[in-house]
Symmetry: C3
Subunit: 134 residues, 3 copies
């Protein structure tokens, strides 16, 4: 049994969902393990992780619109505004989604379903990767 770790930089262009399934998967496969557990950890409080459908881009657009509706940018609604009007909505969206995801590796393949992709939600962000297995 052994471990491998990496810091992955995911480049984004303003708000929204950015898929990094291939980056994470390529790195994991490159470690040459057959069985294991890959953990993705987002090192920020105004960005988060999601596993979602990567077939129809409309799903991403609907998700982004949904989170803008339930956690809107709205001066006066939040006390915390020292980091800008988009900071508190970003914290709330982070709380409602995930900071960390672990994906089993079985027979050399990550157990993502056919339509599942890993996404970073917002901004330029750093994701820590940890793989344990053999």
């Amino acid at each position: 049994m052994r471990q491998a770790t990496e810091l992955l930089h995911v480049k984004t262009h303003g708000r929204g969902l950015v898929e990094f399934t291939r980056q994470a998967g390529d790195w994991a496969r490159g470690q040459g393990m057959q069985t294991g557990l890959l953990t993705l950890f987002c090192r920020h409080t105004s960005a988060s992780l999601l596993i979602q459908e990567n077939a129809d881009p409309d799903v991403q657009r609907d998700l982004e619109a949904y989170f803008e509706t339930i956690a809107p940018e709205d001066p006066g609604r939040y006390v915390h505004d020292t980091e800008g009007p988009d900071d508190m909505p970003a914290h709330i969206r982070t709380a409602l989604t995930q900071t960390q995801l672990s994906i089993p590796l079985i027979r050399g393949e990550l157990m993502l379903g056919t339509w599942q992709g890993t996404y970073l939600f917002e901004h330029r962000r750093q994701v820590a990767l940890h793989l344990i297995g053999e």
Copy 2:
């Protein structure tokens, strides 16, 4: 230290929460480990995982009703409708809950609290199990 993996099929009957605490627990205990970490991973984008109270079934009904309220089925609200009017609400509910859960195993027992059960939220679904420990 060793690992064990399994693909678990959880049968559901339409929408709602289906408990599979016993299925996951029986499998984990069957691996004969004393200390470890059990990871449950849902391989779908329109179903998710939850740990919730398994004492009063009203909790499950209230949870289902709540998610129907905040992520309703509503033609016209979402762009993505090629897979049916219930698909985008399912993606949103998945984003708001969990795709993966890891539960520590200590002295041969999963560390679920007295009233905690593991639930699959919606449809017929496959859950990948990964256990590492000794």
Copy 3:
């Protein structure tokens, strides 16, 4: 490779976010590992875990206010009320946030970002810790 486990008692004062970054970090560092994965697991269904900003306390206040808005205490709204009017809102807030968090340990340091703290959301609660690594 080895494992270490602990049951951590986090004392809270009524509702709200309670940071326990130092408690968890001190315990993890005390195990003397360089590389690993720390898992935090909340053993309750009316409390949850969050990783959030620990710089400006207003963030915590805004988060608490937000969850009171989207999952209000409101007799008549929920069927389940045998454990008090604050129980079903607590279950919903738990469903919307996290029961478990895993944090990679790299070069002896937990990979929390500069402003990230680990929080328990509500009540007096027990958190199970599991660390695997070497």
